[in-house]
């Protein structure tokens, strides 16, 4: 009988606390208060190890901080156009080698220091001197950065470059305060609409509206970025009101849980993220073009997308996204044809290592790839590595892999194939020439050259492109200002609001 008593007691406790706590929420319930005091919490997948995107690789830091905390002279809008941000306007010289940026007045860093042309020269010089990322080479084209007066900065390029201004819209163009770089890992100082208010490691980052922001004040007073390692836990949090937005659905099969339009809203758009089946071009067996081509023929991309990512996303066929002006559907280059694949392999069988990050899309895709490659005689052993560190170390840095699967999220990132030290170990001088010509040429020439470059990559089977990662956002009904397409590096909170 004692047993029954305990159960009642335990049940009573549950009900009592459920009742008293119901609805108070963690601020996200948004009861009362002025609209200014409103806050939202947004669920993310990967928590940054630190907040310094000048020295730490990975997408998590710019996703949280760029545009929101740090601003550049320009930014990318939802259509992929470059629009003014800290620069009111810019003039390009006729030889396209000199950019004169006119800076906005009355801009202050969150530390209180005014933003001037000195900060522009400081920030851009710092990319060369202090940054530790591979992508910093994108700004190697800069010859010098000069201050003309407090509100005018002049950037001189070594040669004309179409990519320069675009790079300035990424994290590379973020403006730092001369007095605010002492502890980038923990204390970001920027000019953006939000400032870091607290960071509970392993749990969440809190951003608060910047009271001295120069531009339109953001509709929300605070935003909580809540980090989940487990897709199901994130889903449950939205289902039970723990968060208001899932920034990127990690378990697309579960979307039907959010089918009720009275409660939830699903945004499905596109990203820059090419999910690449990387092949190590630098060592056997994938230094052999025929073997790489066989892989591309062996994979049934439609089946892969349907099983691995619930059919969400888009088949692409090369290293460009549909939002790029030079995008062409290249899925027809290597149609699914196991017989052709076997023929290309010449009856040989191979044992290879597929070292993937332990992320849902990679683990799912790898199992499909393995099964399909097995049909043509390639036995791929899957080895999941902890992401980011272990994968970065083994695959990205050391290039010790045969096959890998990773979502390359950086925008307009075809150029990584031009770097033969990059982990693809792809080396085709012709590709490099096309890219260089594209960067220097007119807009039309750029588009033509890059179309050709994408075709070359595909023909060479430099890698296989499994699918374009979808931008899948689920939010509570009433949340507005969600970005339909995730084509920049940041998750732009500036328009986020709640009705």
């Amino acid at each position: 009988m004692r047993r029954i008593g305990i159960w009642i007691a335990a049940g009573g406790l549950l009900l009592a606390t459920a009742a008293c706590g119901g609805g108070s929420g963690n601020g996200s319930a948004g009861t009362g208060g002025t609209p200014k005091a409103q806050s939202l919490s947004v669920g993310f997948v990967a928590e940054p190890a630190n907040l310094d995107f000048t020295s730490t690789e990975g997408a998590a830091i710019p996703q949280a901080l760029l545009v929101n905390v740090y601003e550049g002279l320009v930014k990318l809008d939802q259509n992929g156009e470059i629009v003014p941000l800290l620069a009111e306007k810019w003039d390009v010289s006729p030889d396209r080698k000199t950019y004169t940026f006119t800076l906005r007045e009355n801009v202050k860093f969150s530390g209180g220091a005014p933003f001037t042309a000195d900060d522009v020269t400081f920030s851009l010089d710092r990319v060369k001197s202090d940054w530790k990322l591979k992508i910093k080479s994108q700004l190697d084209v800069i010859d010098k950065v000069e201050k003309k007066d407090d509100s005018t900065a002049v950037v001189t390029l070594k040669r004309p470059s179409n990519g320069f201004l675009y790079s300035m819209a990424t994290r590379l163009g973020a403006m730092f305060s001369r007095t605010g770089v002492a502890d980038l890992a923990n204390k970001p100082v920027g000019t953006g609409p939000y400032v870091l208010s607290s960071w509970r490691r392993g749990d969440s980052i809190q951003l608060a509206a910047n009271p001295s922001y120069w531009g339109t004040k953001p509709p929300l007073g605070a935003i909580t970025l809540k980090y989940f390692k487990d897709a199901t836990a994130m889903n449950n949090a939205l289902l039970t009101g723990g968060i208001d937005v899932i920034s990127s659905v990690q378990a697309p099969e579960s979307l039907q849980q959010f089918a009720d339009p009275g409660r939830f809203e699903t945004v499905e758009g596109t990203t820059n993220g090419e999910v690449v089946l990387s092949m190590n071009n630098g060592r056997p067996p994938f230094d052999d073009k025929a073997v790489r081509q066989a892989v591309r023929h062996a994979i049934d991309h439609k089946a892969l997308l349907d099983t691995a990512w619930a059919g969400r996303g888009q088949l692409i066929g090369s290293m460009t996204a549909p939002t790029d002006p030079w995008y062409e559907d290249r899925t027809g280059d290597y149609p699914y044809d196991p017989a052709k694949a076997k023929q290309l392999l010449g009856g040989k069988t191979y044992n290879v290592k597929m070292r993937i990050p332990n992320l849902p899309y990679a683990v799912n895709s790898a199992q499909v790839v393995k099964s399909q490659l097995a049909q043509v005689g390639i036995n791929a052993e899957i080895e999941p590595l902890e992401f980011p560190a272990r994968w970065l170390d083994q695959v990205f840095t050391k290039g010790d892999y045969d096959l890998s699967i990773i979502n390359h999220v950086e925008p307009r990132d075809m150029g990584i194939f031009a770097d033969k030290s990059y982990y693809f170990r792809y080396d085709n001088p012709e590709f490099g020439k096309l890219l260089a010509a594209a960067d220097e040429g007119t807009e039309q020439e750029q588009t033509d050259d890059l179309k050709q470059a994408a075709k070359l990559l595909s023909d060479d089977a430099a890698a296989d492109w499994l699918f374009l990662f979808p931008n899948l956002i689920v939010a509570k009904k009433g949340v507005t200002g969600l970005p339909k397409n995730a084509i920049a590096e940041s998750f732009d909170f500036t328009a986020l609001a709640k009705q």
Partner: protein
């Protein structure tokens, strides 16, 4: 008794020291130089050498160990190579969360197991007693994370009565703190309670066969009364041992429940550290976990001696 205490204390200190050496040695063989990892792909050899100097990883292993161990004695776990923030406070925060989680779970387990196990023993010939035994067998066989997932499904997603996860510090809101911990406590407590129930049952059964209880019964006293007066103390000895063992394994074992309920505990910090190659952090967390288990063992042994008159 004092002699025993002193001897046992010496063993504790020696074991902890050996453990520190073992943990340090293990981390030293981990592939990957912290400086190289921190600097990434394009680092120049000079920069790596300079950072090594800054980290202090260019010195001989013995010097590094002494430095680390000396820091530990003063509660200083060093500064993370990856996050460049001090490690000690992080471990402190996380340990606090995990302790609350595990201790709460153990309370739930005890509240379930002591009455149920005793009942199952006293009435071990009844169908009800047998049913409790069977239920506890089944409870042991269910993985803790599965119990957690099911509890979330029922109480959070379906009933919308409790949060599905997340942790709210008590300072922020005591009510929310309690709500955020109820399901995690329950999922740890149910599974551990099932294990404990069996030990309580078997301990009480053993005690019931002891002569003094049968004497009491023969004298006409109710067996329950005699059990209460004489038996529980003896029955508690094996139960305390098991409790200690459970506590020791749960400090890290709770990580699955932390994962299910998105609770920033010590196990979660360890997994993050491993994934982020934050070696010094991993070293610190492992050391804390190991030292905690050694300490728990010490307490259990001493309690054992206090409870068991034969050992005094």
């Amino acid at each position: 008794m004092i002699l025993y205490l002193l001897k046992r204390l010496a063993v504790l200190l020696a074991s902890t020291a050996v453990a520190a050496v073992a943990v340090f040695a293990f981390m030293a063989v981990l592939p990957g130089d912290p400086a190289e990892i921190a600097l990434g792909v394009n680092a120049t050899p000079d920069a790596v050498a300079e950072l090594r100097k800054q980290f202090g990883t260019d010195r001989p292993a013995v010097a590094q160990f002494l430095d680390w161990a000396g820091g530990l004695l003063q509660g200083d776990f060093g500064t993370s190579y990856v996050t460049s923030s001090p490690i000690g406070p992080q471990i402190g925060d996380r340990l606090g969360v995990t302790l609350v989680l595990v201790l709460g779970g153990m309370v739930v387990a005890l509240v379930l197991a002591v009455p149920l196990g005793t009942f199952a023993a006293v009435r071990h010939r009844d169908p009800l007693g047998a049913a409790i035994s069977a239920a506890s067998q089944l409870g042991i066989a269910i993985p803790a994370f599965l119990a957690g997932i099911l509890l979330v499904f029922v109480f959070a997603v379906q009933a919308q009565a409790l949060p599905s996860g997340g942790y709210v510090p008590i300072a922020e809101s005591p009510g929310e703190w309690l709500r955020s911990l109820l399901l995690p406590w329950l999922s740890l407590g149910l599974v551990q309670g099932a294990v404990l129930t069996r030990y309580v049952r078997s301990a009480v059964l053993d005690v019931m066969r002891e002569d003094y209880l049968r004497t009491a019964r023969a004298k006409g006293r109710g067996s329950t009364g005699a059990l209460w007066r004489h038996g529980l103390r003896n029955a508690s000895i094996p139960v305390v041992t098991v409790l200690g063992l459970q506590l020791a394994t749960l400090l890290i074992g709770a990580v699955v429940v932390e994962r299910v309920f998105v609770i920033p505990g010590l196990g979660d910090l360890l997994l993050n550290g491993v994934a982020g190659r934050d070696l010094l952090l991993v070293q610190g967390v492992v050391m804390v976990l190991v030292a905690a288990v050694l300490l728990i063992n010490f307490v259990v042994d001493v309690t054992y001696h206090l409870l068991d008159p034969r050992l005094r």
